[in-house]
């Protein structure tokens, strides 16, 4: 007996077919990523849990003993750990954001080609983009929550306002993820990412106020540092964690980060279309 071939549908089902909203399409792509993540989440535990613990212990506590003896006046007489921890929270969010928006995106168009599979379904390129951004947001929420818990366990939190630093850190991650993802979809070689890491991520990590106040930089470099999105994330997370944030300052930082994320989404809507509908 020959196996039955699947029948082609002869006509659309009776009644009007509601056009799914853009949102529900994006959720379908998001489900693809979470399904994938269910297989590999164990590997990410290390970077999301262990690395904050190690950094806070080695730099915050270990090196902190030397800093507290000598240079705490430069930090406004707070412990180095309390200074460093919120900065590292924002920097870790940046790292998650950049990590999710580089290799996974290139892999989806070049190696695994799953984006083309999605584009062959009713999903539109923008839905594919938004679905992945949703997943990136989920990863940011997870990692920032873990980081905050570790911070609290180290006693590095000075104010209950630190709760507000949680969405700020997630937004910092998205301010990187959205524009970089909009660019990464057009990239053809992964060596471009090495450049982003070496000339973007690492200098930002080292010079945007995470480890020491930007005022220590030479005069010409300070405006550059103040212009970086990471500094805005670091500054706001820090003043929230220390309980010194003002309304005006908060609006400025959040506005800057949100504008970056929004611009990234607007550009990504176009670049995804250009790459997936060639």
């Amino acid at each position: 007996m020959a196996p039955q071939a699947p029948a082609a549908r002869q006509a659309p089902p009776a009644g009007p077919v509601p056009a799914p909203s853009s949102w529900s399409f994006a959720v379908r792509e998001f489900r693809y990523w979470t399904t994938n993540y269910r297989r590999t989440w164990r590997g990410s535990i290390y970077s999301s849990v262990l690395s904050p613990v190690l950094y806070l212990a080695a730099i915050g506590v270990g090196l902190g003993t030397l800093v507290n003896k000598h240079g705490s006046a430069r930090l406004g007489h707070i412990s180095y750990l309390a200074f460093l921890a919120p900065g590292l929270l924002a920097a870790a969010a940046m790292e998650t954001g950049i990590g999710e928006s580089t290799y996974p995106v290139l892999g989806s168009v070049k190696w695994r080609r799953t984006y083309y599979a999605a584009a062959a379904s009713p999903l539109r390129p923008a839905d594919v983009f938004h679905g992945h951004l949703l997943f990136t947001t989920m990863r940011l929420v997870m990692n920032c929550a873990v980081f905050l818990a570790v911070m609290a366990a180290f006693g590095a939190v000075k104010s209950a306002w630190v709760i507000a630093a949680f969405p700020v850190a997630v937004l910092t991650g998205l301010a990187f993820a959205a524009p970089i993802e909009a660019w990464a979809i057009m990239v053809t070689k992964d060596t471009s990412f090495a450049m982003i890491f070496r000339f973007g991520l690492i200098p930002l990590f080292l010079f945007s106020g995470t480890f020491f106040p930007v005022s220590q930089l030479p005069g010409w470099a300070q405006p550059i540092a103040y212009g970086t999105p990471l500094w805005h994330g670091v500054a706001l997370c820090r003043s929230l964690s220390l309980g010194t944030a003002t309304i005006g300052e908060t609006l400025l930082h959040v506005g800057y980060l949100a504008a970056l994320a929004a611009a990234g989404i607007a550009i990504g809507n176009r670049t995804y279309r250009r790459r997936l509908y060639v």
Binding site: T40, G43, Y46, L50, G62, R198, L206
Partner: protein
């Protein structure tokens, strides 16, 4: 049972005692040279990537110079108080040698092994499995040497070198690279999937953070000091720090011996296993 079951000695040139093999005076057969030639040629197309690799330790050094250096002031080095930047610089060189060697011998080798079938092409020629292992390690060392030399020049320019013994800094950095490249290559022969690279990170990051890179051993209680002293990166950091700060004594030879033994052991294990991995 025929001789077919035994891998041949000639197909695995490393399948001899490493010492005897070193005594033969050549880092590998002619084959390994051609692999190095290939890698060098690839970087003709992507020289910017090669160049960019140098900036990572440089950024760390600059950041510490303007930032943490001022927050910390002076620390007690092996030969008395020194500026914090002078204290950290040799440790950054050691870390950079470790990272470069580990990256080349694990991620890159694994990718070539599993994904782009690069070694399959080489093995269709008279190249042997051992040539490939040695070629990869040699390349890691060559690249590491390039970065190490550039870093030493920057240290000189920033007045972070305090002793003429520092001329031994570059060979020491190469020794660190060798120890980690050979061990990394041996570890890669046991790896089955990308998930296993979490273990590489699990080893590298704590070593970077805790092997006296950023502060003296004296910060720790004695029990932890002993653990730290056992790590290979600590050996490398202590060696380079002693040389650039001028605290030179016979103790440095222990660090050299530790790293040399580690490298040779790694090479031995890698040479035993690489053939089994490539010639299935």
């Amino acid at each position: 049972m025929s001789s077919a079951q035994l891998p041949s000695v000639r197909d695995l040139p490393l399948r001899v005692l490493p010492v005897a093999w070193l005594a033969r005076g050549s880092l590998g057969g002619r084959g390994s040279r051609h692999l190095v030639e290939r890698h060098a040629r690839v970087y003709r197309h992507t020289w910017l990537v090669l160049l960019s690799g140098f900036f990572e330790p440089l950024f760390y050094l600059l950041s510490i110079g303007v930032g943490l250096g001022k927050l910390v002031g002076t620390v007690t080095g092996p030969s008395g108080p020194v500026s914090y930047t002078s204290f950290v610089a040799p440790a950054l060189l050691a870390t950079s040698s470790m990272n470069g060697a580990v990256f080349d011998s694990t991620f890159n080798v694994f990718f070539r092994l599993k994904y782009n079938k690069f070694y399959d092409a080489a093995l269709a020629t008279p190249m042997r499995a051992g040539d490939i292992a040695l070629g990869e390690i040699s390349w890691a060392l060559l690249r590491g040497g390039l970065y190490g030399a550039a870093f030493m020049i920057v240290m000189l320019a920033m007045r972070l070198v305090h002793s003429p013994w520092a001329v031994l800094g570059l060979p020491s950095a190469l020794l660190i690279g060798f120890a980690f490249a050979a061990t990394g290559m041996a570890a890669t022969t046991y790896m089955r999937s990308w998930q296993h690279f979490e273990f590489v990170m699990l080893a590298a990051l704590p070593m970077f953070l805790f092997s006296t890179t950023f502060y003296p051993l004296s910060v720790y209680p004695r029990a932890i000091q002993i653990v730290v002293e056992c790590t290979p990166l600590y050996q490398g950091v202590a060696l380079l720090r002693g040389l650039t700060l001028g605290a030179v004594g016979p103790a440095l030879l222990w660090h050299v011996a530790y790293l040399a033994v580690m490298g040779l052991l790694g090479l031995y294990v890698a040479s035993l296993r690489i053939g089994r991995l490539l010639l299935k």
